[in-house]
Amino acid sequence: MSQISEQEILDCIEKMPAFPKSVSKIIELTSSMDSSAKDIIAVIEGDPVMTGKILQVMNSAFYSLPTKITSIHRALVIIGLNTIKNLAISIAVIGVLRPYKEPHFDSDLFFSDYFIAGLLHDFGTIVFTEFKAEEFEHALAESSINKSSLYLAETKYLGMNHAQVSQILALKWGLSEVIAESIACHHQNVPNNLLSSCIFTANQIAKQAQLGNSGNPVIEILSAEQIAIFGVPFNELIEELGDISLIKETVHHFIGT
């Protein structure tokens, strides 16, 4: 068993690419009611990859328009700011996810602090698969054989678990302390951390609904404090969500295309 030092993991995190500036800027601008259309358009236009992707999505959806949409301004006149914002956020998320396609990383997509925390809480596993694949394989194998939680095996083989690595990554990317903290403890039951409890619960729902399991198929039990947050036990919570097949399809649409 290889012993990996904390410094070694920190060095790996350093090698991770930056969270695209335009992405955090767009999330910031779109979550504020009074950011101007001008500012939002400027950020999108300043990112040629995003601009290209928006135009590509629009031109394929609206292929029958008499003239091709060749600029964000043109797109704005046709579909309006709101749809452009939503497209930009969706594309931003794919842009962050696309470079990595590792078998054990399942991405979760939903929108705000919850959205970002939900999106990034397992990013630490990317650090492992990118730079410490062999040790991570051991951890995966062990948790699979023992039907035990992956994060415990990670600590054993990698000296740190993915939640901790995700936290360091989140801070490196300039995300808020609240988000980083909630990511760090998403496998523990921290009664006062609402965001973290939501990630934890959402993970259990995702497993139950077979949306994905991030290499950890065990459905964990909600604590009494978590049940208190949602006001109903887990099975009722699932029932209240109703048919999530639509959400499922949307998630697959993003990840699959």
Partner: protein, 293 residues
């Protein structure tokens, strides 16, 4: 071709003594062709009363054109009783959502989730099918030619031009003409303005000379200054468009929820005063109002 308003209200149904004349139900317009074919524009709460009417004429075949999936344009659909009765047929047309890449069927599926509605989709005993519309791609239903065009709103919204029996009608759905996001001193201003002008010109071309223009006109000019970017037009914007397109009749619809009958009467009087030479008939859309073109 004739058409009838079953819902003229925007955003939320407003029942009560102050909305008796113009109606409190949300958007729904029935079109009947000379051959008695049925086309329905949007399925706001107004469709409930229309459905009661349709029950007398079963089996029915209805072509439903959805402008967009905001609640006030779809919330009546699960309450359209004939949809649960075998022998009826519904063909629902709408745009694909560019974010989810899903078609108009999603709207009904979402509404019929058990947390929101007690009857599941597989209990729709009528034959229900869905068709995606694509901007500027004409299609023919029941002898009517439909031209969908994408119009600016916070979600993908289609305006529909309906040509049938030598007559024509255009319904905007919810629409706000994109405004210039730049200040006149910004370098981008004039180029962006040119793009806006171009898109308005092509809309004017499309609806040139229609017998009836039914247009979202939620706000007074004064209100609009506070509600720019909300996705709705003012009375004045509707009149301006109608003038430029030389329409024969203009119907102002999507009445703002707080607007009483008295308010609308007053607005109508003022509009006639402010625009003495309209050159077309001006109407405030009114629930149960039926127009033969």
């Amino acid at each position: 071709m004739k058409f009838k308003f079953w819902g003229t209200r925007g955003s939320i149904p407003i029942p009560g003594e102050k909305t008796i004349k113009y109606g409190g139900n949300t958007t729904c317009i029935e079109i009947i062709t000379n051959d008695d074919d049925l086309i329905i524009l949007d399925t706001g709460t107004g469709i409930h009363a229309l459905a009661q009417d349709l029950l007398q004429h079963m089996p029915i075949k209805a072509h439903i054109l959805i402008t967009h999936t905001h609640w006030d344009h779809i919330q009546g659909l699960p309450f359209c009783t004939p949809i649960y009765i075998p022998g009826n047929e519904f063909i629902i047309y709408g745009g694909k959502d560019v974010i989810t890449n899903m078609g108009i069927e999603r709207a009904l599926q979402v509404q019929l989730q058990q947390a929101f509605f007690p009857i599941a989709e597989n209990n729709l005993k009528a034959k229900v099918s869905y068709k995606n519309v694509v901007p500027n791609e004409q299609f023919v239903i029941a002898g009517a030619t439909i031209t969908p065009v994408i119009l600016n709103h916070p979600v993908i919204n289609f305006g529909y031009r309906v040509d049938c029996d030598g007559k024509s009608l255009f319904f905007t759905g919810d629409y706000e003409q994109q405004f210039n996001i730049y200040e006149p001193e910004d370098t981008e201003y004039s180029e962006f303005q040119a793009m806006i002008d171009l898109s308005v010109d092509s809309l004017v071309d499309l609806i040139q000379g229609v017998d009836a223009l039914i247009m979202d006109s939620s706000f007074t000019a004064e209100e609009y200054t506070q509600k720019k970017g909300w996705g709705h037009s003012s009375y004045d914007a509707a009149i301006e468009l109608a003038k430029r397109a030389n329409v024969k009749q203009l119907f102002l619809t999507h009445h703002e929820p707080t607007r009483t009958d008295a308010n609308l009467d007053q607005i109508y009087t003022e509009l006639l005063k402010n625009y003495p030479d309209l050159g077309f008939e001006l109407h405030i859309a009114q629930e149960k109002l039926e127009i033969t073109l």
